[in-house]
Symmetry: C2
Subunit: 100 residues, 2 copies
Amino acid sequence: MYATTTRIGVKPGEAARVAAMLIRRSDALAAAGCRVYEVGADPLDPDAVFVVELWDSEEAHGAALELPDVRDAIAAALPFLSGENAAHGFDVVGSPLRDA
Amino acid sequence: MYATTTRIGVKPGEAARVAAMLIRRSDALAAAGCRVYEVGADPLDPDAVFVVELWDSEEAHGAALELPDVRDAIAAALPFLSGENAAHGFDVVGSPLRDA
């Protein structure tokens, strides 16, 4: 499994709009191997939207960027982004919530 | 729901040891409101362990630091940490994987 955490910089006052675009229901994501995709906000960093994702694999995550739902969401959000993004991905080793 | 992403700095060569401590099965976490707790590694940043967590609330996340399982894991890992940690939490707005 592969995890990503992302800070998406947005133009002033646009965080709620961008977050709403990113949480539109998309069953294509789960079908493509997405297990978790949580979108959020931090009152202390209002010009950003935060995302944590879990995917079956790094390859599944990369391939999903070509999904129509994902391409549409990126195109819709682009005018409201500042371009100051930070993303990090890592390979999951395990979880205390399940047996190894 | 509340999300956290953490980079835990570890002493050189100790990432696998620390990760193993953090993924010991703990049913107390789920009972305390933890929905996701994924531990991982990044080959490009070998002196760190990464964690993404989802909790029912920020309060549940904070209260869990007092759980015996969590206190034991912190105490066991402490000698192998570098002290260079970075953590970020945010309030979850929603997910494209479910209806709002």
